[in-house]
Symmetry: C2
């Protein structure tokens, strides 16, 4: 069959090399005669997988030694509640409101403490990243959403929060670019966009914050448990962690985060150029300087043409180009595993479509 | 390589047919040119998988219509806390204490409400299922652990709790036998022993209990959320749910739960017969009438012989026979996917070992 390009906002495609390796090893991991899914999480074979995944994450991302790396479950959506449950009870935190994901994080935080909205782009339908943030001097932490998949906006640079820990939901752009851990207290990310399949959440948290977590929480909801037990308090999502390890090896092979970041810049530039050079046929919806390199959102001259565009694209193998129902239009999600070839194929299609549908 | 038999307490082996099918489809699901791991959970292809998984679970298990079927994350360990958080705050519940898993459930419940220990087998190191339970008239629910993997004991029949909902942790024996839903308010199970890989938890809950859940919980920890959104409030663990669907098809192919139960009875009988007919060389540790059909625990004449037994077994392909560190001895876990052939191969080995090591 013809090659398909998946531009869905997530779960996203995974690198072909990773999928092929997973397929090869699916019935017999490491020559043990069993699948990685079929062995004890306490076996040395699985322990070497989770340890390698952690080591590679630390090396590729440059995680400082005073941070724990945890593999949890429940997605970023569980983190929206678990974070304030652990750090916010009876305290105040600053949240930057940039769209649907930030909104969900804010809603859950309000159940546990006081939330100060340090900045918001709600006035313009979340089409930009707010500057001039108003931080509270007594904030326990500052929370930002690194990339908003619906509005297609992304922090190009994180705010300087001084001594207040910066906590970042990086679900949709982790491992797509280098990170400076200077202000960071914690980052978290559901795996299913850039680093693995759905079913595992990566949490990287500074030790002093872990130590300060609320006492008396139910065991599975305390970061202390997972940091102390190195994600093995109970059976972790073994297969998903194994895939993360393979994805990390794939990133290593490409040349690490600097190389991935360069490729992602090229991909985003190609797509935004196709929009900007279309003589107004395609219109980007995000503020130019805040454009996401992961989710490229754009409109066509009419809703009818958008529908036609999405349908014709699908016929030739470009799937998932429909914008989120809350904003409409079109969206191409171009996470790590989407190659420049896929993006260039799409830009070619866009050019042809514009010519044929003036 | 020689065939391996995995007798680990979990994650356990999966049916070979399931693993082969998963391997075949791993790069191209349903002819769509993408893996089931690489598509949106809102796509019709994944929706048909999760819907089929639910339908098959309902049919095979005979789930009454007034129950919701949910695919959650975090394992039974998260349920130990999530259950009392939803149903026990400020109330009382009865728990039957049968071993390590019941103990963990009790510990978490005490964080939220009053726990009455309705019965316990702690006096004899959890080697039996207590009878003569003392229920509280005002209990919100009665909680039991269907099968204890460490002690190797199992409820052959669940207590009659009258109008009080019975809640059962079936992590280690779900889909191994038929269930009568008469008293049941909820059952839950981590998937990784009998129905799938680690990373998904099956929760089946009566609608009136869902409606009565605590208000104001963080969204992901409320059963109401997952029942209302049909496990799709956020991205579910898609691949693990897909494997559950394949396992359900495998059970259908065998003839359903009655057929599986019969096979499991045969497997357990063969293994316990090998123990009981060894002239005292092997000694079962569980009370005979409470013996588990899933985890067969036994001792040899000395710890030295146990060590030798475990090592020699490993050399010829029987892995995971070491008992849990808290009780020592040996344990053979024989979940659904372990065939009678594997059990008979083990009994043959046991017979030979006993002869050669008098």
């Amino acid at each position: 069959m013809a090659k398909k390009y998946n531009f869905y906002a997530g779960p996203a495609i995974l690198p072909q090399e990773v999928m092929k390796k997973a397929q090869e090893e699916l019935l017999d991991f490491n020559g043990i005669g069993l699948s990685i899914m079929e062995i004890s999480h306490r076996s040395k074979d699985f322990e070497s997988v989770i340890n390698a995944a952690e080591t590679k994450i630390r090396t590729l991302l440059g995680v400082p030694e005073n941070f724990a790396v945890m593999f949890l479950q429940g997605g970023a959506s569980l983190q929206f509640g678990m974070l304030p449950m652990n750090l916010l009870i009876g305290k105040k935190a600053d949240y930057v409101h940039t769209g649907e994901w930030a909104k969900k994080a804010i809603k859950e935080a309000k159940l546990f403490g006081t939330v100060n909205i340090a900045g918001s782009s709600e006035d313009k339908n979340f089409s930009y990243i707010p500057e001039n943030l108003t931080f509270s001097p007594d904030a326990r932490y500052v929370h930002v959403t690194s990339n908003e998949t619906i509005g297609g906006i992304q922090f190009s640079k994180f705010p300087d929060t001084g001594n207040v820990p910066l906590i970042i939901d990086m679900s949709s752009d982790i491992f797509s670019r280098k990170i400076d851990f200077k202000n960071i207290g914690m980052i978290y990310a559901g795996a299913q966009k850039n680093i693995g399949p759905a079913g595992v959440t990566l949490v990287i948290m500074r030790n002093d914050l872990i130590e300060a977590c609320t006492e008396g929480l139910t065991t599975m909801l305390s970061y202390k448990t997972h940091a102390k037990e190195k994600s093995m308090y109970n059976t972790p999502p073994c297969f998903a962690i194994y895939i993360i390890k393979l994805v990390m090896e794939w990133i290593e092979g490409l040349g690490g985060l600097a190389a991935i970041e360069e490729i992602n810049e090229k991909k985003a530039k190609a797509l935004y150029d196709a929009i900007d050079n279309s003589g107004g046929y395609y219109k980007g919806t995000a503020n130019v300087s805040d454009r996401s390199r992961m989710n490229v959102t754009f409109r066509l001259p009419s809703e009818e043409l958008e529908e036609k565009f999405i349908n014709e694209a699908k016929k030739v193998g470009f799937i998932g180009l429909k914008g989120h129902r809350s904003v409409g239009g079109c969206r191409a999600s171009i996470y790590n595993a989407m190659g420049l070839d896929g993006v260039l194929a799409l830009t070619q299609f866009m050019e042809n479509f514009a010519k044929e549908n003036k």
